[in-house]
């Protein structure tokens, strides 16, 4: 590691801490302290009006008897199940497409990346025009003799539509991750396979995919965590409705905390979500580690 040497002129024992002081203060105030409060609140019945009062495991017992938590948990898991193929598999094909050596390919990368940098609110507004009962998607369905569907008002279609929006918005990001991975695949390997008579599919299956294993690990974790905490898209598109069909854990926490002011209970649900995310990330790490051996 360059720069890692003994004490040097102009350095005191406190020099590194002095540098980090603003960062540490911000960390303490905006991350560590809130994290401690979150845990404390989960064991309280805090409602903003009355002072924080310790209530032991009450919130967690309530959790077990609350049917809406189970609905939210189910919806969040469904979200993950629908989201993964759209963000772990499809963007690989996007990346292969924009990895071609063609003129103006950079412009296409940029266009595919555009939804990533725009705000969820703006994107949700745009989607309302597309998925409206009389919008473009329903017109296309009509050409095939199907629909029209009230995508956001139908309890069977609302969740898939929200998932699709999230996947569409982040596809460009996952594409860029894969592109970085693809560009690190040694081109000699691909060429060698071509000379050996492997077709495009065989090259993908036997050369590219194995080489991308670390990239898959990254996208899988990112995608799962993103799906588990889906909230902003739900907030701007459906507010958890219709009939709780898009009630995700993230939205449930929000509605308990900022609509019902049941901060203690909301924090307990927050801890549950947090625990699930840590387990998912840990499990993922374990699986990918084992495969590498």
């Amino acid at each position: 590691m360059p720069g890692l040497k003994g004490r040097v002129v102009g350095q005191h024992w406190y020099t590194p801490y002095a540098f980090m002081l603003p960062g540490l203060l911000c960390y303490a105030a905006m991350f560590a302290w809130p994290a401690v409060i979150a845990i404390q609140l989960a064991f309280s019945d805090y409602d903003i009006v009355h002072p924080v009062r310790f209530s032991g495991l009450d919130n967690f017992i309530e959790l077990g008897h609350d049917p809406r938590v189970w609905i939210a948990l189910r919806n969040s898991l469904l979200f993950v199940v629908m989201f993964l193929p759209l963000t772990v598999v499809l963007p690989l094909f996007l990346a292969m497409l924009v990895n071609l050596k063609l003129r103006a390919i950079q412009a296409f990368r940029m266009l595919y990346y555009l939804p990533v940098i725009t705000s969820m609110v703006a994107v949700a507004v745009a989607w309302r025009y597309v998925f409206n009962r009389e919008g473009v998607v329903n017109w296309m369905l009509g050409l095939f003799g199907a629909g029209p569907i009230d995508f956001l008002l139908d309890r069977h279609w609302a969740l898939p539509t929200v998932v699709l929006l999230e996947a569409w918005k982040s596809a460009g990001l996952f594409m860029m991750i894969y592109l970085a991975g693809l560009q690190a695949v040694p081109s000699e390997q691909v060429e060698a396979a071509t000379i050996d008579g492997a077709n495009a599919w065989q090259r993908l299956r036997h050369v590219v995919v194995p080489a991308l294993r670390p990239t898959f690990a990254v996208t899988l974790v990112l995608s799962m965590l993103e799906a588990m905490r889906a909230f902003e898209s739900v907030y701007v598109l459906t507010r958890g409705g219709p009939l709780d069909s898009t009630l995700t854990l993230g939205y449930y926490i929000w509605s308990k905390a900022f609509e019902d002011y049941d901060m203690g209970y909301a924090s307990a649900v927050g801890l549950l979500l947090w625990a699930i995310m840590i387990v998912l990330a840990g499990f993922n790490l374990l699986v990918t580690r084992r495969r590498d051996v």
């Binding site: 020099t15 980090m20 540490l24 105030a29 905006m30 409060i37 940029m110 555009l114 905390a257």
Partner: protein, 270 residues
């Protein structure tokens, strides 16, 4: 040749999927009052394109105020974010001290404290500090990110020792080395972080929604949500307002796309 044309057709078809919704938004925002926004078959070309809805969006709600607020949030947050991140990353890369690895892990742990889960406790911290409904409350949580510290630590550690040693021999203290020598060298990384920071602050929605109560402090994304609330029926005005909110990020992106796309790849490759 035929293969190449087929590939371009495919590339353009996929591009239509990604920018189509934005084009439909733009078409709705520029259609004259007499032309339907919805309907079968879709009538997407405005005849003739008009600017009235942009003017209307600008006047129905204090739109200029929201844009100004967002510019203030970006203008204060980004410089502070860059300075704090650089100061924090520097010793993690270039000074040997006890517990360096622990501090690095500490800052990386920010990644595992997603903003959504911090909404409630952070809101309470802000009320304890008496900062709810202030500009500071929006800015403070945005001045530290694990990505910033991670990327800058990498950039700092790649600076060759000889460059720094020369200054040390001349008697420069650590801060002078940091400020006058290392900061200019990591400028490209700072630029990338500034762009990503700009995008995320400009788009921030949920946290301002929680912590702000007075409309006069709303950033633009909250303004759009507000617009879609007050003018539920005026689909053209809402589309126009949304288009306005997209302009700055799209401009920044167009100007700096190469740098952004390369950095995204680089950041992930780590």
């Amino acid at each position: 040749m035929r293969r190449r044309i087929a590939l371009y057709v495919l590339l353009i078809a996929v591009a239509a999927l990604f920018i189509g919704p934005f084009l439909i938004l733009l078409s709705s925002a520029t259609k004259p009052a007499g032309q339907d926004v919805f309907g079968f078959p879709p009538d997407l070309i405005p005849r003739p394109p008009v600017a009235t809805w942009f003017r209307e969006a600008w006047t129905t709600i204090p739109y200029a105020r929201f844009v100004l607020n967002s510019l203030i949030y970006v203008g204060i947050t980004i410089p502070v974010y860059l300075i704090v991140s650089a100061l924090t990353a520097y010793p993690l890369a270039r000074i040997a001290f006890c517990g360096r690895g622990v501090f690095f892990m500490l800052f990386l742990s920010i990644m595992f404290l997603p903003g959504e889960l911090m909404l409630i406790p952070r809101f309470l911290v802000m009320s304890q500090l008496g900062l709810t409904d202030t500009f500071a409350s929006v800015i403070l949580p945005a001045i530290l990110s694990s990505l910033g510290i991670f990327l800058l630590r990498q950039a700092f550690s790649q600076i060759p020792d000889e460059v720094v040693e020369a200054a040390r021999v001349d008697g420069a203290n650590e801060f002078a080395i940091f400020w006058r020598i290392c900061i200019p060298i990591v400028a490209p990384t700072l630029a990338v972080l500034a762009i990503l920071g700009f995008v995320s602050v400009w788009n921030s929605f949920i946290w301002p929604l929680v912590v702000l109560t007075s409309q006069s402090k709303f950033p633009i994304a909250l303004g759009i949500a507000y617009l879609s609330g007050v003018s539920g029926t005026d689909v053209r005005g809402l589309a126009a307002g949304t288009v306005i909110s997209l302009v700055p990020v799209v401009l920044v992106f167009l100007l700096l796309q190469k740098r952004i796309l390369n950095s995204m790849g680089g950041a992930v490759k780590g």
